[in-house]
Amino acid sequence: MSVLWPAVRFTVNGEVREVHAPPMKRLLDVLREELKLTGAKEGCGEGECGSCSVRMNGELVNSCLIPVLQAEGAEIQTVEGLAANGKLHPIQEAFLQCGGAQCGICTPGMLMATAQLLAANPHPNLAEIREGLAGNLCRCTGFIRIFESVVVAATRDSASATDEGAHDAR
């Protein structure tokens, strides 16, 4: 990081952050290198696989396609911002229970895509789930258990994240 670069300020997982980085540096690299948030992964570097997905201003974006200058003033949520109060988020809990994560590399992006989908459509049908996750590739599961995870998360999402049965996130 160099102070020679202009400051970019944005909010990540509720916290205001300021970075000095080349304006065209990818948001993905800023998150991973400057902010040490390594949950978002690079799978393809061209917006095809979705493993770098984060939520920005209420939209799902491929952080490998966002120059950091575009994040000025943005509200960003990464996978690290899902769990709260030391407990897994209901979406995470559903993926754990249903086998929605196997190798785990697509998981952070898949969780953010699910969060985005459920925020816009709390009770999606199967076709809507398929469409909502179509930008996130998973090579392990064949998606079937991910669809099931989303259905279970949707039924649980109204319950609070401090659900007694939720797994410890510490």
Partner: protein, 753 residues
């Protein structure tokens, strides 16, 4: 003893062992790790398929003083990647045999500068004529490997094939082809290496087989065992693609680390990973089959050829498994399989889920439907008349001593899919619809574990130990890459030890800490390694009963109290076991005769496919998978393995085409190499019939590769059913469907209203 009717932990959907870390995004994959003072490595590769290296020049626009540069001259030991045959150089020395062959390595403290400098290394060549296809290699006009281009050959013979033709009622021939397939794990290959004179080489990386990498590093660096350490980091998918290639990458990163005096990270981007690393072997399979008037197989004659690429890698063992799966789950008195793996100037092919079996099973199961059509028999009935049963022998004359329930699997698959009713309905609807629907079946087995005497040669060692703070650790070199190794093996240990699942964990996958329990390949982890963990656990309980006062029944706390009692008196609480072959296993590696596998997993898959004759797209609408994999250790993980394998198999059949240019992948981006997405996978219905296998962990057999074997033939058989046209090559893309359908019938005039 291992087939308990009731278990607490085994068979239960316990949470994935490392699941919470993965869901929180804190699981550490190699690119998430940093080392103090770390540099970044990059690779300069051949851009021609075959030739002599005339010169290597470094552009003066780059200040090379900032870089470290490594060539073959810097290799301290043998310049070969240790695998089966020492033919693949770690770095090309004087000549190149395929595009993307590594020639020069560079490292720099800045990741981008390292990558940018690759194009500033100018290599000049005297090109030699390359060959790319099986047919070019067979002709031997250009010999590019050994004396004759032949990487490996096998001849499997049973009975007398040549005499069978004379009294056959039917003889049916066919040729089938399968393309290359890319693993497309979402995490690219990556490695970090450190070197010091005192500690030798240490690598951290995304890999399946720590001890494979260990052996390569030892020979490339000429180091003793205690100066090489390999640690697997969380691995984001592998599918065989991280069985052999990580050895190359580990050696590269370690050479740069040694020369620079810094830790060096090398993580490929997607384009480099797709262009430079292994893929599934393309294959050509020719069948000639004799049947009697009842549709019983009299003779199977198979000529199998695979394209191995420029170096031997695992081509011989892939060919072996391809050969041993080529005749399908059928009984036939006379069999001949002649198989050959050919060298070309393609980027070397390597391990991929199924390991040769998907290629030959595609051919056999596609051929069965062509036989059925030729002799006027229902495809299901043809299979039933020839299924293996208890006591029958396979092509290698292995006697089926364990129950074979193919008819039961077929019954269930037909019932669940409503196969006959749908076929009838589709046949009627297809006459008046532009969308033609069909149903296709595939029946197959997959051998669990290493072939023949392979497990005896591996001589795996595994165990469990107990830490002073009250945790059991499973000691194996088998790795987790999504398939569930961590969960399954800790379940097995918890069950056999009679303690809580939460108190059992995996020891770090680090050759400095765990014994060599063999590679994580060949659907061997649950059955073979799980069994070792089970035995070691049972042995530990006996030890604690005999020497530490552990009672006949005990709580988890009493177990750990007994462990502490033992530790005070004797020291380390540790139990290890070595592999012991099930009795009566005899295998002749020369004649390819005998017990090819200790156990087989069996399956019948059904695909429902719709072919749109306007757009020429084929869509799998629904899929049914019925299998017998022994005892199911974890219902959620097992179903996940089957579903994931089927999705990959759907891609193999209908989407995933590697486009070649000068022997390397031209479409090396996710934008133009297309895998099934969430919108493409069909609903998949998974069913298990469980017959516990005495010599597997709590009755388990192999599961991981089986589901990749069946989808392609089931789907193409369904397309045959839908359209009446036989398609014998995969991948089958819309343009191929168009060509095949257009050739088979005159194009109808569009209806004008």
């Amino acid at each position: 003893m291992s087939t308990h009717a009731t278990t607490r932990v085994v068979g239960a959907p316990v949470p994935r062992k490392e699941g919470v870390d993965k869901l929180l995004g804190r699981a550490c994959y190699v690119d998430d790790l940093q080392r103090e003072g770390m540099w970044y490595g990059a690779t300069v590769r051949s851009n021609i398929p075959r030739g002599i290296i005339r010169s290597i020049a470094f552009d003066r626009k780059v200040d090379w003083n900032e870089f470290v540069v490594v060539t073959a001259a810097d290799v301290p030991g043998e310049n070969h990647i240790h695998l089966i045959i020492a033919d693949q150089p770690c770095l090309a020395d004087g000549k190149v045999n395929h595009r993307e062959e590594p020639i020069v390595l560079i490292a720099h403290p800045d990741r981008n500068k390292a990558r940018e400098a690759v194009s500033a290394v100018k290599i000049e060549y005297d090109p030699l004529p390359p060959i790319f296809t099986i047919e070019e290699s067979e002709r031997q006009d250009q010999v590019v490997w050994g004396a004759d281009n032949l990487l490996k050959s096998f001849l499997l013979e049973k009975g007398d094939v040549d005499s069978a033709w004379a009294h056959a009622a039917h003889i049916v021939e066919g040729e089938y082809r399968t393309g290359a397939q890319e693993h497309l794990y979402i995490e690219n290959n990556g490695m970090i290496a450190e070197y010091s004179a005192e500690k030798g080489v240490t690598v951290w990386g995304s890999l399946q087989c720590p001890y494979y990498v260990f052996k390569s590093l030892r020979s490339v660096f000429d180091l003793p065992e205690d100066k090489v350490r390999v640690i697997q980091t969380e691995t984001g998918g592998a599918f065989g693609g991280k069985e052999d290639y990580p050895s190359n990458l580990a050696c590269h990163a370690a050479l740069l680390a040694m020369k620079s005096g810094h830790p060096v990270k090398m993580v490929y981007d997607r384009m480099e990973d797709l262009a430079a690393t292994t893929k599934r072997h393309p294959a050509r399979v020719r069948h000639r089959t004799a049947l009697d008037s009842d549709g019983k197989l009299l003779a199977i004659d198979i000529d199998l050829a695979t394209n191995g690429g420029a170096y031997a890698t695992l081509s011989s063992t892939v060919l072996s498994r391809a050969t041993l799966h080529s005749t399908g789950p059928y009984s036939c008195p006379n069999v001949r399989v002649r198989s050959r793996a050919w060298a070309t100037n393609m980027v070397p092919f390597g391990a991929f889920r199924g390991f040769g079996a998907p290629q030959t099973i595609f051919a056999m199961e596609r051929h069965m439907d062509e036989i059925a059509a030729a002799i006027g028999l229902d495809p299901v009935e043809l299979r039933r008349r020839n299924f293996l049963h208890d006591g029958d022998t396979t092509a290698t004359e292995q006697v089926m001593r364990e129950p074979v329930i193919l008819d039961r699997l077929m019954d269930r698959a037909l019932e669940e899919s409503d196969y006959y009713a749908k076929r009838q309905r589709f046949a009627a609807e297809n006459r008046v619809s532009a969308v033609k629907r069909g149903m296709g079946v595939a029946a197959f087995y997959h051998g669990s574990g290493f072939t023949g005497s392979g497990e005896v040669v591996l001589n795996s060692l595994a165990g469990v130990d107990v830490t002073p703070d009250g945790r059991v650790r499973v000691l194996v070199s088998n790795t987790e890459f999504g398939q569930g190794t961590n969960t399954i093996l800790t379940q097995v240990a918890a069950e056999a030890l009679g303690i809580d699942y939460a108190r059992v964990e995996m020891a770090p996958p680090d050759t400095g800490q765990v014994p060599n329990s063999g590679p994580t390949v060949a659907s061997r982890t649950s059955m073979v390694v799980g069994r070792l963990v089970e035995r070691a656990s049972v042995q530990l309980v006996s030890l604690l009963r005999a020497q530490a006062g552990l009672g006949a029944s005990y709580t988890t706390e009493e177990f750990f109290a007994a462990c502490e009692c033992y530790r005070q008196a004797k020291g380390e609480v540790l139990s290890t076991c070595r592999y012991e072959a099930p009795p009566g296993i005899k295998w002749d590696d020369q004649k390819y005769h005998g017990e090819a596998y200790p156990a087989f997993a069996w399956a019948v898959y059904v695909a429902q496919v719709a072919v749109d004759t306007v757009t020429y797209s084929a869509e799998v609408e629904e899929f049914w998978a019925v299998q017998e994999v022994g005892r199911v250790l974890h219902p959620v993980l097992a179903a996940g393995q089957i579903e994931g394998g089927i999705a990959q198999g759907v891609g193999y059949a209908l989407y995933e085409k590697v486009v070649w240019q000068d022997g390397s992948m031209a479409n090396n981006q996710m934008t133009n190499y297309i895998m099934p997405t969430a919108e493409d996978v069909p609903p998949i219905h998974v069913f298990f019939e469980e017959i516990p296998f005495r010599h597997g962990a709590f009755g388990a057999k192999g599961i991981g590769e089986l589901p990749h074997d069946g989808p392609a033939p089931a789907i193409l058989n369904a397309i045959r059913d839908a359209t009446g046209v036989a398609f014998n090559s995969i991948p089958l893309l819309p343009e191929d469907l168009f060509a095949g359908l257009a050739a088979s019938q005159p194009i109808e005039e569009p209806i004008t209203l």
